[in-house]
Structures are given as C-alpha cells and as structure tokens.
C-alpha cells in the first residue's frame, strides 16, 4: 500500500475541483473582475510609457503590458490572506477531525492550498488568458519570447505554485496565534504585494535592486516565471532563479512543519 500514498491527496484535489465548479457565480465574478482589473492595470502601464520618461527603463512597453496581464492571470495562485478555511477549522474546533485522519496534517492542508491554486488557474484564469491574447495591439498579452523560454516558464510556474502554497500555509499557521496572527498576516500581505511583481514588474527597477529583491521569497511567486516568459531573465540565468524558488520552498516548508508541530503539541480544541 505504500505505493498508493499519494492517492488520498489526489482525492482531496478532486474534491476541491468539484467544489469550485459548484460555486459558479463565484467563478464568473472572478473572471469578470479579473478582466476589469487587467484592462485598468495595462492602461496604467501604457500611461506611464506614453507620458513618462522611459530612458531609464530596461523593458519595452509590450513586455510591461504583458507582465501586468500575467499578474492578473496568476492572481488565483497568490497566497493573499492564507487559507481562510483552515482558520475557520481552528476557530470552530473542526480541526479535531483533521487530527484524527491517518494523513500527515501538513500535507493534508498543503494539498488544499495547492488545489485551490490549480483549480483557480484551470477554471478562472484560462478565460482571462484567452481574452488577453485576443485583445488589440497595445493592450495584448505578448507571446513567449521563444519556445524554450515557454517550457522553462512552465517549470518555473509550477515551482511558483508550490512556493505560493508554502507561504499560504505559513500565513494560515500565523492565524493559530490569535494574539499576533492578524498583524503578521497583514504584514506578509504587504510584502507580497510590493515584492512579488504584483504592482510593477521588478525589471523596471535598476538591475542591482531587481536582483537583490529577487533573492527574497516573494519574487518567486510571480516575477521570476513571468520574466522568464518575457525574456527579461535570459534562459542562461533561469536555472539560478529557479534554484532560488526551490531554496525558499524547502526553507519555508521546514519552517511551516516546525510551527505546525509546535502548534499540535499544545492544541486546544474549541468545542461546539
């Protein structure tokens, strides 16, 4: 039976997929809202490129616009706010059931997080991707710089999804400490927004700054895969940046598991 150890996790993913498909209104609002946000974000980028001074900028307008579309398309994988259901489970005492299951608690919850990302990408992002590709010239999402870059982008994107779930787990675990949890999650949210390439492509910064910020765990969520797609990170350097993604994933998984173990040691089940 050891061979089938992955099986329960696949079932968890299926459950999440069916669950998301059931909430159709939520998916539609995600798609419409995403399209709205995308058009606004790209127009802002275009405004800066049209009216601003671009002499110091190391990327083209098309790349910047494509970056903003990618930000919107990958919105569903971002670990904003952590896993809220997990928080509910802890607050309501339902966590007791999870503790009873013959699955590793960390990977059980982790699968829920990653399933959320994947279903979001599958159901909610693909219509926006299609729209972005079909839009007329200045607003359109550009194609990947080369086929090789595209393949590496896919690998880097998978790493990004794994990393995002790891960070999401950490935020959720912060909630366990009712005293500090809210403040910590707020702070991590701000860091993600600022340093992941969510607000602006990190490539508009001077090279030295960009490469320092890309050493943090946040750039791996969005900026690194997207920059590979756009050719702003050359293929020769892609391996180095993917190593950073992997490095942070491992570190944060270890940290998350450590925090979880501490939490389960003195767990208090809320009745009700």
């Amino acid at each position: 039976m050891r061979k089938l150890a992955i099986f329960p996790y696949i079932s968890l993913f299926k459950m999440k997929l069916i669950n998301t498909l059931a909430y159709r209104a939520s998916s539609w609002s995600m798609i419409l809202g995403g399209a709205f946000y995308g058009v606004i974000q790209t127009s802002i980028m275009l405004a800066f490129f049209t009216y601003g001074n671009t002499s110091a900028i190391m990327m083209t307008q098309t790349q910047a616009v494509s970056h903003m579309w990618m930000v919107v398309i990958l919105y569903g994988i971002m670990p904003f706010g952590g896993n809220i259901r997990l928080y509910d489970k802890i607050a309501s005492g339902l966590v007791a059931y999870d503790l009873c299951r013959p699955l590793d608690l960390y990977w059980n919850w982790y699968t829920t997080s990653i399933s959320t990302s994947l279903t979001n990408l599958l159901i909610r992002s693909s219509p926006i991707l299609l729209l972005a590709l079909l839009l007329p010239s200045p607003y359109t999402l550009g194609l990947p710089v080369s086929f090789a870059a595209f393949l590496i982008f896919v690998v880097s994107l998978i790493l990004a999804i794994i990393l995002a779930s790891t960070i999401s787990m950490l935020i959720s675990l912060a909630y366990v400490n009712a005293d500090m949890g809210l403040g910590v999650s707020q702070f991590i949210y701000s860091l993600i927004v600022l340093f992941s390439g969510d607000l602006f492509p990190l490539s508009i910064l001077p090279n030295a700054f960009a490469s320092i910020i890309r050493l943090l765990p946040f750039a791996g969520l969005k900026d690194i895969p997207v920059s590979i797609y756009l050719g702003l990170i050359p293929i020769s350097k892609a391996l180095y940046y993917m190593a950073i993604q992997l490095f942070w994933t491992i570190i944060l998984v270890v940290l998350g598991r450590f925090l979880l173990r501490r939490f389960t040691k003195k767990i208090i089940i809320q009745g009700g």
Binding site: Y23, A25, S26, S29, M30, G33, G34, F36, Y37, V39, I40, Q41, S43, I44, A47, F48, F49, T50, Y51, G52, N53, T54, A56, I57, F80, G81, I84, D88, S92, A178, D179, M180, L182, G183, Q186, F187, Y189, S190, L191, V193, L194, L199, F200, I204, L205
Partner: protein, 260 residues
C-alpha cells in the same frame, strides 16, 4: 434611534473584545505600515518614470490620502460585511435572522475594527504632507469638497462590501475578487485620468465611480477648476449606497441555510 443606540453597543462590545488581546497597539501599527507600503508601489513607478505631464508624485499622494481615509473609515465601520460570506458558509446567519432587529444592522455590528484608524491616520497625514508640498491654499469650499469626497468614498466602499456580501447569498463563499474593488483600487485611483483611455474613464466615473470621489475633487483643490464632477461625490455615494441596500434586500430573500 434605537438602532443607533444598539449599534454603539455593538461597537463598544467589539472594542472591549479587542482590548482583551494585549497586542492591540500592534494592530494599529500594522495597519499603518500596510497602507504606507501600498503607496510605495506607485511612488516607485514615479521614481523610475518621472512625472506624467504635470501630474507629479505629490498629486498622487494627495489622492492616496483622500482614498485611504475613506477606505479606512469604511473598513472601520462596515467590515462585518466583508467577513459575512464566512458566516453564511458556517450557517451563522440563521442566528441573526432569529433576532428581532434588521439583519443589516446586526451584520454591520458584527465587526467594528477600530485598528483601521491606522489607515485613517496615514491618509490624513498624506493629505497634510501633499498639500504642503503642492502649496495648496485651503479655503472653506476646498475643505467641503475634501470632506464630501471622503464621505462619498466611504459610501462607495461600503456599498462594494454590501454588494459582495449580497452575492455571497448565491456563491456561499468568500470571493477574493472583492480585493480588486477595495484594497487594489487604492492603487489605480491615484493615476491621472486624463492619461487613461475613454472606456476606463467612463467605467471609473459611471460604473464604479471612485474617480468622482478622488480624482475630480482633488483636481478642484489643486487647480480650482470648476467641474460638476468635482462636487457630486456625496450624492453619488448616497445613490450607490441605497442601490446596494436594495441589492441586499433582494438577495436576502434567496438565502438558504447551509445548516452546519
């Protein structure tokens, strides 16, 4: 009158509740930090691209101040609606329906986030700093325009929260897309609208009218240009808010308990 008294009771209860957590000053600081970091993004864009025509980083600071103050007050008072979808999923709304008061008031009273005052503090400081840099001559009309703009903004954000809470009667779950109309809107509200394509201008003026609450009033304060759009923030906000209460009342009829 009774409702207002009841609401204050809710508010005091919430504050007492929060005070039980000894770290509450950190919440305030955390909120302040979050809003400062949010501004940094646009600031960095301006640092790299320079001014957009005659629209400088200080102009965006002024808009950001007004927007942040409005959003802070709205989150302060209406946060209950933002967290409402979770209540629906857990079936807690049944409890509210059983009580002999309107659901609207009770959902509103569920949360009273006084730590969002941090956002308001940052917002007001931004307005002060920006008006110092831009050397704005304040008179009674400018002050009224700003207060009206903030009031309109509070109403618009509150309506967004109410509308998304109403949608959750159907979706039975939180919709993270609401961030696009709340937290993220603080970013795109700061951009000069004359650089935007007409479609966007119309959407942000007539559909999701934050431009009326921030951009046009700020234009009046800076240039003293007389434009109708600068003065109608409050009525538009009221209109939007009454619309959202209509939506709420229509959707509440579709409530099915999740029973858990």
């Amino acid at each position: 009158m009774n409702s207002i008294k009841l609401y204050f009771k809710y508010a005091i209860m919430n504050i007492r509740c929060k005070m039980q957590y000894k770290q509450w000053p950190f919440y305030l600081l955390g909120t302040m930090l979050t809003s400062v970091i949010e501004f940094l993004g646009v600031r960095i864009m301006f640092m790299r691209f320079g001014d957009l025509g005659d629209w400088t980083a200080s102009h965006t600071l002024l808009v950001f101040g007004v927007a942040n103050t409005a959003f802070g007050i709205s989150e302060w008072i209406f946060r209950g609606f933002a967290e409402f979808p979770n209540q629906i999923r857990k079936g807690l709304f049944d409890k509210i329906l059983l009580r002999p008061r309107t659901a609207f008031l009770q959902v509103m009273g569920e949360r009273f986030q006084f730590e969002k005052a941090g956002r308001v503090i940052v917002g007001v400081s931004c307005i002060v700093i920006a008006s110092d840099t831009l050397q704005i001559g304040w008179d009674i009309t400018s002050l009224l325009v700003v207060v009206g703009a903030i009031g309109g903004g509070v109403l618009i954000y509150s309506s967004v929260m109410v509308i998304f809470a109403s949608i959750s009667f159907f979706t039975v779950g939180a919709i993270s897309v609401v961030y696009i109309f709340t937290n993220h809107s603080l970013q795109y509200a700061q951009i000069p609208f004359h650089t935007m394509p007409n479609m966007i201008k119309h959407v942000l003026t007539f559909v999701f009218p934050i431009a009326i609450c921030y951009y046009y009033p700020v234009l009046y304060i800076i240039n003293k240009d007389i434009n109708v759009l600068s003065f109608i923030a409050l009525p538009v906000g009221l209109l939007f808010f009454s619309l959202s209460t209509v939506v709420w009342k229509a959707c509440i009829k579709h409530y099915h308990s999740t029973g858990s």
